[in-house]
Symmetry: C2
Subunit: 337 residues, 2 copies
Amino acid sequence: MKQRKVTLGEVAQVAGVSRATVSLVVRKSPLVADHTRQKVERVLADLDYVHDIGAARLRNNSSRTIGVIVPNLVNSFFTEFLSGVEQMMSEDDRVVLLANSDDDLTRQSQILQRFRGHGVDGVILCPAEGTDPQLPMRMRQWGLPLVQSLREVGDNVTDYAGADYIKGVQLAVGHLVEHGHRQIAFLSVSARTSARVERLEGFSRAIAGTEAQNAGIVEAELSWEGAAQSAAKVLALRGTPSAVLCFNDVLAAGLMLGLRRAGREPGRDIAVVGLDDLPLAELTFPPMTSVAMCPERIGAAAARLLARRLESPDAPVERSVVAPSLMIRESSNLSVS
Amino acid sequence: MKQRKVTLGEVAQVAGVSRATVSLVVRKSPLVADHTRQKVERVLADLDYVHDIGAARLRNNSSRTIGVIVPNLVNSFFTEFLSGVEQMMSEDDRVVLLANSDDDLTRQSQILQRFRGHGVDGVILCPAEGTDPQLPMRMRQWGLPLVQSLREVGDNVTDYAGADYIKGVQLAVGHLVEHGHRQIAFLSVSARTSARVERLEGFSRAIAGTEAQNAGIVEAELSWEGAAQSAAKVLALRGTPSAVLCFNDVLAAGLMLGLRRAGREPGRDIAVVGLDDLPLAELTFPPMTSVAMCPERIGAAAARLLARRLESPDAPVERSVVAPSLMIRESSNLSVS
DNA sequence: CTTATTATTTAGATCGTTCTAAATCCGTAA
DNA sequence: TTACGGATTTAGAACGATCTAAATAATAAG
């Protein structure tokens, strides 16, 4: 039942030309004469020839394959990111090898070895927490082009595509201040990740630039229950915040549930703003004001950077930061006198 | 800067054995003597040898690579599915080539050709709407093992892993009936997909088995706005439903927003139940009762089926259907006398 | 000390493509 | 006619692994 694979050689035989010529036709080289090209193309189609890219790579060292490593496949932030990468790569007729590091360093390096063994042309990596800053250098020695994305290790040694959370937080704070809020709290995640550092940093800086005050920082587990439970703490804050900015949308949604359980109506009694603008932000009640980070566009940007790097390996390092935008909905409706 | 690739030959030379022996060591064959194995393994590590799987495939026809085609990378149902596949494959030291067909037939066949060219060992496919029922047969002729998942074309000709929506709908309806609901409406998607057919079918059947009545079927666009707008239609239904079962969680969440705008409190004035139990179901207000379809487990099942098929190509066709489970939350709280 | 047996090791062909360098073809200028 | 240059085509050696079949080493038996 299983047909044997059709090879260049067989096509060549049928078409009455050499293997080399068929190869040229397959690769659309301008070197072959029009009439031979047509003749060969017909045979190609007749025999249902499939170009074996693996075999080709062996000779010419380009697999048209790239690897993507994300720390998580459940968080839609990363899957949207992935979607952007896939789309862009696919337009470029490249294939994506996908792997999930689960934020685990051991897995991450296993995956890198696997990718190396499969001969990927390059890698887009969201480095797992705690990744050795030397990694980019090591990969350079391997001859494996790397674009980092969303997170970064090492000092500006590779191309990078990411989000600007500093700016994002600033947008959110600015919006709240405009609506008269002067006491703004931040609901953070408890894990000490670089994401946490960046957003907290952004928060203090943004607050500093306004007449508002930091009403306090509360930590919660990264889950909706964690956030819901932290509602009490938020309300007990000395600064008695009239608005809470949250680490991300999941925490914001959880917090809204918690606040409501505590008898406070988000969007009426207290403003809540999320970060990331995941699809769920529209579906909470009230619909959540959030800062869109556009992970899909970041993914596309990362893909473009990698494509460029593959074309010109010695181009200078480039960074691509996608500007966030504020999506105003009802959870931040209230204005404070 | 870029190191040349270390080959079996070089390792062999340094270790003072033949290429073939090194190959055996790399593949952990029991044929080699202990002391040679150790000697070779040391050299392997010293030189940082990387097994070139592509080259190996050329000879032995196994790339340890499988392709996954999903119709969508934004819907978390599919990404959780993907996550299950990736995890299982990775445990098996296989790599996943990912592609998104966007439910487009042309793209889908392009992707299949690409995968074929890359020499994947097999494919897990969620067929795009309208896929030719002959496709599985064609793939069999190509010698490309196929597992279908979540959707299916052709008549039971390939392995299949999926969800049981009939059962899922039945669980939901049963739950509502238990709480005294007798007029139950269904909020459907307007696109004529097989998913729609299955769920509607399940709905009529489930209703038929109880003392409840079909209060009417409303169609909406597959988006939260679409669902929100359909709230009026739902309320205007002749059957005056006390409960609404929705095509999926996104519609359910949208509907809840719409109902509230219309002055009806979901979970108090009218029960709403979703399907799929996406992560967002916990984050809506009130938290949504939904039927968990466990896409991640389905993905894992699909991966297992494919692994099995690769091992024994002639095993009989197998189906794996993951049982749904009802997640009761607050959107279906109310009981009707 | 042979010889039979089993355990290891290996040379060399092979997978399907692309590259290099050289061969052939063809029209034109001398 | 002969030679020359550009346009096409091609033979044959890579690429890095694995397979086959056979060679060699080690062990046991007679």
